[in-house]
């Protein structure tokens, strides 16, 4: 886990943690890390996620299954063997390789989309919470409006406008999933903006930007972490759904959603390689992400500190 540079946050660390002494050893973050380590399930999940990332990185660099989009007609619908643990698909491509490359798609969409939604959510939430008044009213209006449109309609319509493709999917997901983050951050800002440490910063002459980004934001940053994780999971799921519906990534790009789409016809053969591989890969990643998120949330929650 990344740790903030404590030098830049002397006040925040002091104010947020209950300790009066702002050393890095018992800062909120260190404390959270210590507690996170105690959660075995969380740690295992973290390693599983790490494994996915490593596998994806190996696939991107071409070490694992470099020729996955090259068809091999002679090998179509091969059954399970050592060289093809999940068999091959209609075009003779190795299904395990497809699933691994699908991981790349999933992780990149998760990463990009949840980063985008996090940035939008954090900025809008902090600005709304900090300034209040008309700015707040405007932002609340915006996110209430966005939130009132069911995402299952909003995202497909956005992808209709933007067209298919990885980038467009991540823009569509990012632009529609920032509301919860914004709402949470806004609430936190309301609470924090009149706290003593902010007043102190104000008294020392800090401007708005410094107070928002230098002081309050680091104190609500744990929220961002958890939101990021949740966003990641939902972005992966949305990508799969969109690709399944034919609105997601370009079909030339491997995706779990496309594999399940293939599988719905192939099950009649009966041929289940695509379905098994895609769902197992999805299951592993999403389950570990959820467990990891839970562990992270517990670790970062000051209320759980003494448990």
């Amino acid at each position: 886990m990344s740790m903030p540079n404590t030098d830049s946050l002397p006040l925040t660390a002091a104010a947020a943690s209950t300790s009066t002494n702002a050393t890095s050893r018992n800062s909120l973050w260190w404390d959270a890390f210590r507690r996170f380590k105690k959660n075995k399930l969380g740690v295992v999940s973290f390693y599983v996620i790490l494994l996915y990332v490593v596998v994806a990185a190996l696939a991107v660099t071409g070490i694992l299954y470099p020729d996955i989009s090259v068809p091999n007609q002679a090998d179509a619908y091969a059954s399970i063997s050592l060289s093809h643990p999940f068999g091959t698909d209609i075009f003779g491509r190795d299904i395990l390789g497809r699933a691994i490359h699908g991981t790349v798609t999933a992780i990149s969409i998760g990463l990009l989309a949840s980063t985008l939604s996090l940035v939008i959510g954090l900025v809008l939430g902090s600005v709304a919470g900090y300034f209040g008044g008309k700015v707040d009213a405007a932002i609340v209006w915006l996110y209430t409006t966005v939130d009132s449109i069911p995402y299952i309609l909003l995202i497909p319509s956005l992808t209709f406008v933007l067209g298919r493709g990885l980038i467009n999917v991540f823009i569509a997901v990012g632009l529609t999933s920032w509301v919860t983050t914004a709402r949470l951050v806004r609430g936190e800002f309301f609470k924090h903006k009149h706290r003593d440490y902010v007043m102190a910063a104000h008294a020392l002459g800090a401007n708005d930007r410094r107070k928002i980004f230098g002081h309050i934001l680091p104190n609500v940053a744990h929220l961002a972490f958890v939101q990021f994780g949740l966003g990641f999971v939902s972005a992966i799921k949305i990508e799969v759904i969109l690709s399944y519906l034919g609105l997601g990534v370009d079909p030339s790009q491997p995706s779990w959603g496309l594999m399940i789409d293939d599988a719905k016809n192939e099950l009649a053969r009966p041929y289940w390689g695509n379905l098994a591989a895609a769902t197992m890969f999805m299951f592993g990643l999403i389950l570990s992400f959820n467990l990891f998120n839970d562990a992270l949330r517990e670790a970062l929650d000051p209320k759980m500190k003494n448990k």
């Binding site: 179509a76 298919r164 949470l184 034919g246 079909p251 016809n265």
Partner: protein
Amino acid sequence: MALSKAYPARQFRPRGQTATFVQVLLAGAVAIALAITGCTKKRFDENDNSLNLVLRANVKGLDPISANDLYSSTVIAQMYEGLLEYNYLKRPFTLQPALAEAMPEVSKDGLTYTFKIKKGVKFHDNAAFKDGKGREITAQDFIYSWKRLADPRNASEGFWIFDGKIKGLNEWAQMVKAEKANYDTPVEGLTATDSNTLVVKLTGVYHQLPFVLAMPFASIVPKEAVEKYGKEFLNNPVGTGPFVLEKPTDWVRNSKITLKKNPSYRPATYPTEGAPGDAEKGLLADAGKQVPFIDKLVFNEIVEDQPRWQNGLKGNFDWFDIPKDNFENAVKDNKIAPELGAKGMALDVTPALDVTYIGFNMTDKELGKNKLLRQAISKAFDSKTYIQKFLNGRGVAAQGPIPPGVDAYDDVYKNPNAEFDLAKAKELLAKAGFPEGKGAPELTYEALSDATARQGAEFFAQSMAAIGIKVKINSNTWPQFQEKIKGQKAQIFGIAWGADYPDAQNFFQLFYSKNKTPGPNDSSFTNLEFDKLYEESLKLPAGEERTKLYRKLRDIVADESPWVFNAHRLGYRLVHGWVGNFKWTEVANDYPKYIRIDAKKRAELGSKL
């Protein structure tokens, strides 16, 4: 901190509550299970004299002038009729009078056709008429309907059937465009000498006229309904056909269309003679009886293969196609699988009289001007593998537009650009200015959104990747897909053409420049020599001389490669045991009226499905 409040769902749930939740779930499951088993006992009503069919794409609209796709025109053909129709049983396909009293009298020069129209035929009862009662049809109705087809404001995809053929009709259309004429302005080539005599004068010989008159485009529509409904006429069909859409809500968009038997349908009988062997198959048992035999006709729209197949097996459709992924289980040694045969189903195999192809937009900056690029793409596409993979070998690799079974089909001809050869394709691509695909434009392929169509698109993209051309794939619904093609917005598109009538001209008109999209020339192919030869071929009756011209036309198309010729398909479908009088008709869509359903047998066989 606020965290725990933000995630109440993750907090503890009292155990007692969980238990009740499970109980509720269980109770629900039991209730549903009971309901299902309750249903299976009586799945089909013994008195339900209905025919249930399935379409694999969505219907666009129910106006005859927009009947340019198979799915819409299949439904339209149930409600609308024209002067002529095909004999249900005879092969090769033979025309017979429908709303006409008899086959037309043709003048010696072949330029004047005189039709006598049946007396006493009435339009469907509809609020558009006085007292809601359908009025009798007249010759004037045909003139009105055909003017409507020509009216440029309607931008009909079907005007090609009369374009430049009927004296004064094109001029009339021009005047309407300039707002100098209306529907009362006479057209020289279309006159009604009395209320049931229609005289059609042609600009030149048009041997295909009787064929096109059997197409839904040339159907008769009542002026009253068109005027009453305006744009909504698309959803409020009023014709003379054997079935009626009683109310617009009987059409649930993208789901199903329920038609009822037309109680005042004209006297029309089941054919008394058929092709050799029909009598032995029991197809002549109903000879001479009034049609239709069924009371209700339902068209279901199901885009995906598996739901269509599963519903078909369950007996929800009376016949249905076999998808590629189910083929091996359904057909063994070209016979129906025994376990399906034991359930009373039969296998029907009929050549589809069609050509599947990948069309290029010839107005496209890159593709339109670069013949070598098109040839390279064509050579890099392996239609034999495609047929194995997607059609289970049920088809022949197409060498040109004409399918086997249509006159002028040449079974020895090999199209030099259609034969798969990667090395030659790469050579051609280099000649086209893109060695190894360097500098080649990224192409966009428009496909339908179902899984099989997407896989077909992927197959094309892979074939192109092999010579270094990148292809992007777009998914569309059928109406969206059509819209893109008609607007020349689709760069490359995978589509098929099924014969409207059994004449090769129906395939060559797809390349005639005056039929440019929104007409049937989807590629907007323009070639002066082709146009000249095509126009010449129109003047000739069927025979050796015309066949020679057809070969020349084919050679031009093969060389210019506006399409990648893919396959001529063989239709495989399963027919349930309770369906009587089934004979697959490839060019006519009015078959439901001849079908007989044995509802008792359906109730009996259906309970075992």
